[in-house]
């Protein structure tokens, strides 16, 4: 078990026994490669399996949720900000892109959605720069609630009662993506792009500084780390990823409703990151798959789904605060002692 102070956070900064004896590269270079290999594998497997449209839809949803969850991973797991606004930011991306697309075209519409969410998130984070933990959580919950009510009442953006229909389909290389398998390739490209951006972030010094800001803000500030700027930046960047995912979802489905991006999804995103693991961006990707599969494969849960999720949060936070990746890593850490001569490998990344 990790020590109590590092329960929900990345442990890569913590001095471990190995760190003193083995030399580790600061920014492992194979992360981009892993992303590309993942994309190729997903593409190959999905086209080889010739999935039914329904199953293909699940794969598509998984990729959209992954994008949103990776944004949340940066906000929550790396920067330690407990934000419950991620689903709302996806909603902003979806609606703004839907409103803008008829005049700008779909790609530029998506950019508009992302930009709006980024500006909104940055302004909010600036306003809340002195606020942490529960206060920040409940403030973001308030923001989401306010934004949802505004969109629902504002017919120009929200359509009738917050349900906007007739959104243009996704476009790629000058053609519209309407069928589930066409959408798949479009979303796979977007998913890969988002993962590449995230991988670049994972290996940048920014990540270290964010962890420092999260753990010991005072020390970080005395070392010249721009605490407020970093907090605002990561919240805006994570929210922009959410907006990207939300915009893709809106154009893929052809309609958006405020219900699809409600508090349920915010908690769902939270479960994705917590379940997959908070110590790597891949945790969010694994967790998103879990979240997509559970309601379909565990149909017997029925109305007990929310009870299951609530219990899952409790079990994870009490017994497995590092999620699946954390479990895999602690297993991997023990292996070399039993098999001498093999090189130690740390988990997925």
């Amino acid at each position: 078990m990790p020590d109590s102070e590092t329960a929900v956070v990345d442990t890569s900064l913590a001095p471990t026994g190995e760190a003193r004896t083995t030399r580790r590269r600061l920014y492992p270079g194979h992360q981009f490669l892993v992303v590309l290999v993942t994309a190729v594998v997903v593409g190959t497997v999905v086209s080889a399996l010739e999935l039914e449209p329904l199953d293909l839809g699940m794969v598509n949803l998984w990729m959209v949720y992954s994008i949103i969850a990776i944004g949340f991973y940066f906000i929550f797991a790396v920067a330690g900000q407990f934000a419950l606004s991620q689903a709302f930011m996806a909603m902003v991306g979806g609606y703004v892109s839907a409103v803008a697309s008829p005049s700008t075209g779909v790609p530029l519409g998506i950019v508009c959605g992302i930009t709006t969410a980024g500006v909104l998130a940055a302004a909010f984070a600036l306003l809340m720069r002195r606020v942490t933990e529960f206060y920040f959580a409940i403030a973001t919950l308030g923001l989401a609630e306010i934004g949802t009510i505004v969109i629902r009442n504002w017919d120009y953006v929200g359509g009738v009662d917050g349900t906007r229909i007739g959104i243009q389909p996704l476009e790629a290389l000058g053609r519209q993506l309407r069928m589930q398998d066409e959408v798949f390739w479009g979303l796979l490209a977007a998913f890969t792009l988002a993962l590449l951006v995230a991988a670049a972030f994972e290996r940048s010094p920014l990540r270290r500084e964010l962890i420092a800001v999260h753990r010991t803000p005072e020390v970080a500030a005395t070392l010249g780390v721009p605490v407020t700027l970093l907090r605002v930046t990561v919240f805006a960047a994570g929210s922009m990823l959410a907006a990207f995912g939300g915009a893709l979802y809106a154009h893929w489905q052809g309609f958006v409703s405020t219900e699809a991006f409600g508090l349920d999804l915010s908690i769902g995103i939270f479960i994705m990151v917590l379940f997959g693991g908070t110590s790597s961006m891949w945790g969010a990707v694994i967790g998103a798959a879990f979240y997509v599969v559970v309601p379909v494969k565990f149909e017997f849960l029925g109305g007990y789904l929310d009870v299951f999720y609530g219990g899952l949060i409790l079990v994870l936070i009490i017994a497995f605060p590092e999620g699946l990746i954390g479990i895999a890593r602690s297993v991997a850490r023990r292996l070399p002692r039993r098999i001498p001569g093999t090189q130690r490998r740390a988990g997925v990344s």
Partner: protein, 291 residues
């Protein structure tokens, strides 16, 4: 003028509810240093249990309300055992998350047990109104203010004058020291969670008869209560009461004249504004109390 006075009266009643809810946050915060995400859902539980007591158990309204308060208090104790006690030494963020998980479970189970369609909660004193010189006030709102005043006064006396109150305050100041001094921290922590749950239930029981109640009922009350708790400085009961009344009156009077279509936004707007502008509370002497 009489319309304004009526609005002012309902503002005071709403403020009393916020103050009660905030007192629930405060008791818990004083004793354990944490804020409970499930507080809003405990408000809902209080309302639903009253409904259950009157319809399924055929109890009188007073008895059903009392039963609801006691049972919600017990639920608070259960939450302490499940969501707080195993995590007491972990970072606060962890505890916040576990209370979120608990809130999700409580709400889902409540929906499974008593259904998701809106319910009507009865009141012991009827839905009539008082007419005082042209100012119309619902009887229920008068009851709210009276009960809230009694509860808050009792609470204030308890904090200041009883051994229990002193133990609570000692635990909040320094948990380890309190324990070394022979305070039974485990029991008092359970008591604080139970008491906080009972306060939430009282708020729920009081406000529920005013409108049909559904599962998200406690949610917006929690925001108002949390705004009151912050604005009051999370320290003194008096501050919290003043802040609660202030917020309630602002919401009711402004809500009737400005942005009427968006009246449902007020608890959230007030809460976000309070956190952004004055996170240390109105009456704090030291800035940045413990954020």
């Amino acid at each position: 003028m009489s319309t304004f006075l009526s609005l002012l009266a309902s503002g005071i009643a709403l403020g009393a509810i916020y103050a009660l809810g905030a007192a629930g946050f405060l008791v818990l915060y004083k004793a354990t240093g944490v804020v409970n995400f499930a507080q809003g859902d405990l408000v809902t539980v209080g309302a639903y249990l009253t409904f259950w007591g009157t319809t399924s158990l055929h109890l009188g309204v007073w008895k059903a309300a009392l039963l609801a308060v006691v049972l919600t208090g017990l639920l608070g104790v259960v939450l302490e055992r499940v969501a707080y006690a195993p995590l007491r030494n972990r970072p606060h963020l962890t505890i916040v998350i576990s209370t979120l998980g608990a809130a999700l479970m409580v709400r889902a189970l409540l929906g499974l047990w008593l259904g998701t369609s809106p319910i009507t909660v009865p009141t012991p004193i009827g839905l009539g109104t008082f007419d005082i010189g042209g100012v119309v006030i619902a009887r229920q709102r008068v009851l709210i203010v009276v009960v809230a005043a009694v509860v808050v006064a009792t609470l204030g006396w308890m904090f200041a004058r009883t051994q229990l109150g002193r133990s609570l305050r000692a635990m909040a100041t320094d948990h380890a020291m309190a324990r070394l001094s022979g305070i039974r921290v485990r029991g008092i922590s359970m008591f604080a969670w139970g008491f906080s749950g009972a306060l939430a239930a009282i708020a729920g029981v009081l406000v529920a008869p005013l409108a049909p109640v559904e599962l998200g009922f406690g949610f917006s009350i929690m925001f108002g209560a949390f705004a009151a708790a912050i604005l009051g400085g999370f320290e003194s009961l008096g501050g919290v009461v003043v802040a609660g009344l202030l917020l309630g009156v602002v919401e009711q009077t402004f809500g009737a004249y400005v942005f009427r279509e968006y009246a449902e936004l007020y608890p959230f707007l007030l809460m976000v504004a309070v956190i952004a502008v004055r996170p240390q509370g109105l009456f704090a002497r030291r800035a940045h109390a413990r954020l």
